[in-house]
Symmetry: C2
Subunit: 307 residues, 2 copies
C-alpha cells in the first residue's frame, strides 16, 4: 500500500473576502500528503524546497508518516512562492505573484527506497517532471493518478498529452475539462479526454461537487453545502490526497470503490476550506473525518419506490 506523492511544497500568500495571510505553507504535495496520511502511511514524498522552509513544518509531516527522502533541499535558494486573491464567489482567483525559485531547476529523483510503490499521485506540477517520475519507476504502479491545471494546457500541452497516455486517473475542474477537450458538454469532454489515455476522469466542480467518468458509467458526488468557504486554496489537492489515500488503504481500484474514494476526498476538501492554508488539515481527527463522511451519506440518501 505504498504511495508516492509528487508535487510542490511552497509558501503561499492568500487573500480572501474573509482575511489575508502573508506567508503560509502550501503546495500541491503538501496538501496531498496531509490528506492521504489520514489513510495510509508511509507517504513517500517527492518535491523540492529552499532554505526557508521551516523545520517544524517538515517535522509535522514526518510525524504523520510522510517520508522526505525524495524532497530535495536547496541550501542557497528560496522555496516556490505563490500569491493569489480570491473573488467574492471563491470560484475564481487572480494570481498576483509566482516566484518559481527552487522550482525553476527541479529535477525530481525517485529514491531507491521508493521503488515498488503501488500507488502514484502526480500532484499539480510541470508535466515534464510528472513524466520523468513515471519513467524512473522500475515497476509500473497499480494506479497512477494525475492532477493538472489550465496553466499547463496553455504552455505545455504537448508534454501534458504525453503524461496523459501514461496515467489511469485524471483530475481536472470543469473549465479545464472543456479547455482540454474543446467540448462544452462535460459528457462529450469526458469521452474525448478518456480517449487521450486515462481510463477514469474526475471533473471537479467546487461547490457543485464532482463527476467520475469511466467507460459509459458516470457517478455524481455532491459537495457539502457550507456556511462559509474561508479559503479554497489546496482544496483540489486535498481532494486528490483523500481520493488516492482511500484507494491505497483499501487496495481496491474498482469503479465502485472510486465512488467511495470521491466521497472521502470531498469530505477532506470540505475541512480544508474551513481555515487558511493547511491549518484545518493539521487539526482533524479520524472521528472528525468519519462524522463528515456520514454527513455526505445523509446529504444524498434517498429512497425510490417505483410503482
Amino acid at each position: 500500500m505504498s504511495l508516492i506523492t509528487v508535487g510542490t511544497m511552497a509558501f503561499d500568500a492568500i487573500e480572501t473576502p474573509f482575511g489575508k495571510v502573508d506567508k503560509i505553507v502550501g503546495g500541491s504535495a503538501t496538501y496531498v500528503a496531509y490528506a492521504a496520511s489520514n489513510f495510509v502511511q508511509p507517504i513517500q514524498q517527492i518535491s523540492i524546497i529552499g532554505n526557508d522552509f521551516p523545520k517544524e513544518e517538515l517535522d509535522a509531516l514526518t510525524s504523520r508518516g510522510v517520508k522526505l527522502e525524495g524532497v530535495e533541499m536547496v541550501p542557497d535558494k528560496k522555496s516556490f512562492f505563490w500569491s493569489g486573491k480570491y473573488h467574492l464567489d471563491m470560484n475564481t482567483r487572480d494570481t498576483l505573484v509566482t516566484d518559481l525559485n527552487v522550482l525553476a531547476d527541479f529535477n525530481p529523483i525517485v529514491p531507491d527506497s521508493y521503488q515498488g510503490a503501488e500507488f502514484l499521485m502526480l500532484g499539480n506540477l510541470m508535466p515534464k517532471l510528472q513524466l520523468s517520475v513515471i519513467n524512473q519507476l522500475k515497476t509500473k504502479p497499480k494506479l497512477i493518478v494525475m492532477d493538472t491545471m489550465n496553466f499547463w494546457m496553455d504552455v505545455a500541452l504537448d508534454d501534458l498529452k504525453e503524461v496523459l497516455k501514461r496515467v489511469d486517473v485524471l483530475l481536472v475542474n470543469d473549465s479545464e475539462a472543456r479547455q482540454l477537450s474543446g467540448e462544452f458538454s462535460l459528457v462529450k469532454a469526458a469521452r474525448n479526454i478518456m480517449a487521450m489515455g486515462p481510463k477514469f476522469l474526475i471533473i471537479k466542480k467546487g461547490e457543485h461537487g464532482a463527476l467520475l467518468f469511466h467507460e459509459n458509467h458516470v457517478f455524481v458526488a455532491p459537495a457539502l453545502p457550507l456556511e462559509e468557504v474561508f479559503d479554497p486554496t489546496g482544496a483540489g489537492d486535498t481532494f486528490a490526497g483523500g481520493f488516492i489515500g482511500h484507494l491505497a488503504k483499501t487496495k481496491d481500484i474498482s469503479f465502485e470503490n472510486m465512488k467511495t474514494a470521491i466521497i472521502v476526498g470531498s469530505a477532506l476538501a470540505s475541512f480544508c476550506v474551513e481555515k487558511f492554508g493547511p491549518e484545518r488539515m493539521k487539526e482533524i481527527t479520524k472521528a472528525d473525518i468519519d462524522s463528515r463522511i456520514a454527513a455526505f451519506v445523509q446529504l444524498v440518501n434517498f429512497e425510490i419506490d417505483l410503482v
Copy 2:
C-alpha cells in the same frame, strides 16, 4: 389527490445554439401540467389564453386529464408571447420580446369545482395573482408550492414577500436565492428565505442539480449529465410539475418523500431539455420515466464502509 396548477399558457419563440423555433406553445402552467399529469389526474388548471391558442393543444392537455374550466379564453386578444435567446452555456439567456397580451388583464378565478383541492402549484406568475388564488380557496390545501423568478424580485418584491408568508415550499434558482436573501452562501440564503415563510426551500442549480432545505436538514440532488441540452425552456416548470405530481400521487409531504419528489422532478426536467418546448414531454411514457429515475439512482449510489 386533487391538484390545482396556476400559471401562464403562452407562445414562445426560442433560439438556442442548436436551432430556433418561431412559435411553440409554452408557459409555466403548460409545462407543469404536462409533467404533473404523469402522476396524478385530474390537473385543475388556472390560466388565460387568447383567440390564437390552438384547439389541438387544448385537446392534448384534456386527453391527459387536464381540466380547463379555470382557463379563461379571451376572444379578442392574443395569448402571452415570450421570445428568448440562450447563450452557449445554456444557463443564461436574453429575453428578446415579452408581449403580455391577455396576461395584462388576467384576474384568475378559482372555479367552484376546484374547491377542496389538496395540492396547489403556483407556477411562475405575478405574485399578486398567485396570492389571489390562495385567497379564493375555501379550504387551505395540504401543500402550497410556489415557483417565481428574479423579475418579480425586481418589480414586485413586496407582493412576492406577501405570497411567501402563505406557501409551504418555494422553488428558486441559485442566483434568485442570493438576490432574495442578500446572502451569497446558499446555506445562509436558505435560512434567511425560510424565515420569510416557506418551511421548505428548493434551490435549482440547472446542470448542477438541486438543493432541498428544511429546518437544519439539507438534501442534494444531482442533475443527469447530458450530452446536449437542446432547449432549457420550461425545465424549471417541468421540475416543479414532477415534484408536486409525485407528492400529490403519494399524498406524503414529509422531508423524506420530498427528496424522492426532487429526483422525480429532475428526471422529468432531463427529458424536457431534449427537444424544443414541451415536445419531448408529449412523447414520454411511464416506462421512460421509470428508466430515467433508475438512472438517477445509479448516478448517486455509493457504498460507504467506515472502518
